[in-house]
Amino acid sequence: MKLKTRLSIDVCFKYIFKVTGLLVLLLLGAILFMLIYNSISFFLDVRPIDFITGLEWNPTGDTPKYGILPLIISTTLVTMGAMAIAIPLGIGTAAFIAEYASPRLKNMLKPIIEMLAAIPSVVIGFLGIVVVGPGIANLADLQNGLNALNGAILLAVMALPTIITVAEDAIHAVPKTYKEASYGVGATKWQTLRKIVIPAAAPGIIAAVMLGVGRAIGETMTVLMATGNAALLPTGMFASVKTMTATIAIEMGEVPYQTTHYYALYAIATVLFFMTLLANILGEYFINRFRKYHAV
């Protein structure tokens, strides 16, 4: 091919990549715009302070109440419950796979984790209704197992594969030379794991946990199906809770468009968005703090 043609193709593709790239970014940027725009419409009707601190969510009452606090607390409760289960299990499993499992075991475990990750959330939610819910009700002698604990267990199952794979990758990516160096000065496998491997993999592990948190906060179907959806301030893990995502999923179906209630759901989405953003930014911050040790 002539040099001229080659150079024009080069320039041409440069613009193709650039334009598609920018278009995608524009679309994704529009999400934020849409959230903010609709939220502003909402805050023209309801004061932000009443929204954030209000203790009651009842948009269809005679005097509509748009207090989001119970929803935020519910989401937090379920997420923290899920993380309490998923973080130790996840890191433990990741370390086991990366450092202890024989290659054969590893080849069996990795697909298992990936299979777990592949199971759609609606299936997990379904099992929450038919297995975990009744199980909790039986064990704790409750009338009904649709509560925060149910949601937390299911979300833990959903967050686990993310945490395990990302953390395992990070642990695995720690150069063998680090380990050799540590063994070389007489450290045991456990010491090496805790003091060298996990710190060296920390960015990845924190990223893993953050991805897990993000997934738990934003998960919709599972909590929608499994937590009972009572818009109350939750009283504990056995209380029915209505998370932010479930609220949107339930109510968006039936609200007339362009009403205060409709905008309120977008406002919830905005809060949700910023919660996940916060989790991600925190993760990013820690990643950068650790990453400078890896700069070559």
Partner: protein, 285 residues
Amino acid sequence: MRFRAERITTIVEWGTLLLSTGLVCFFLVIILWEIVSKGAAVISAEFVLQVPKEGMTAGGILTPIIGTVLLTLLTALFAIPFGVCCAVYLQEYASNNWFTRTIRASIRNLSGVPSIIYGLFGLALFVQGLQFGTSLLAAGLTLGLLSLPYIITTAEEALMRIPNSMREAALAVGATKFETIRDVVLPSSMSGILTGVVLTLSRAAGETAPILFTGAAFYINQTRASVNQEFMALPYHLYMLSTQHQSIDAVRPIAYGTALVLVFVVFVLNLAAFYIRYTYRKNEN
């Protein structure tokens, strides 16, 4: 003395890790056992090849299967070219300044944005804004948007793994930037990109929240589909059968069957990803 104590701690440490791994496996076993044992009872050729009948208490799930397949195809058609091009742009062309760093961080964050928010966006943009109505097209594009950040990040990671020395090798023999990308960078990162794409699609196929308001229907009486019509989808079908249907006990077996088929579909996609990664890795070494 110290020796024995050491050995015991070793066993305890090892046991802790083994226990957590065991629990994770146990979760999967429970899930699969429940779905397979109860779902297998209703699975048959008819179940897969017949439309729902008698108010969905009988018959099969052909309509939602068709819907899910079409939806996933549409998602792929939109998300793959745009996602890969965007990744190439960011990784190979955009200069590394605060602007691109912000963009990259935003994309990472977008992959953490809850899927229901994509549903809202799809409703606002595709259904209402662009007047696609609640339809296969609107839902496919919504899922496509949802998939984009994943595809971009996995593709970018795959591109990033290609050492600069590989690019230098091509440039040093006089290749243009595009040729370098086409001949060296993309082929070497293909396994990573493809794996990411297939995994993302399997995720999209199982999503429910983004299609809640953008086009999934409770029931369709025809199996022919078009992009501007509503559709049935496996995950939505399962959700409806397990929470909305009138005779919840009568449809429970169908719900299990649907769950089994859905899980089967995503497992097949995952196997495909696994296979791609495996063959490419083999070729690379």
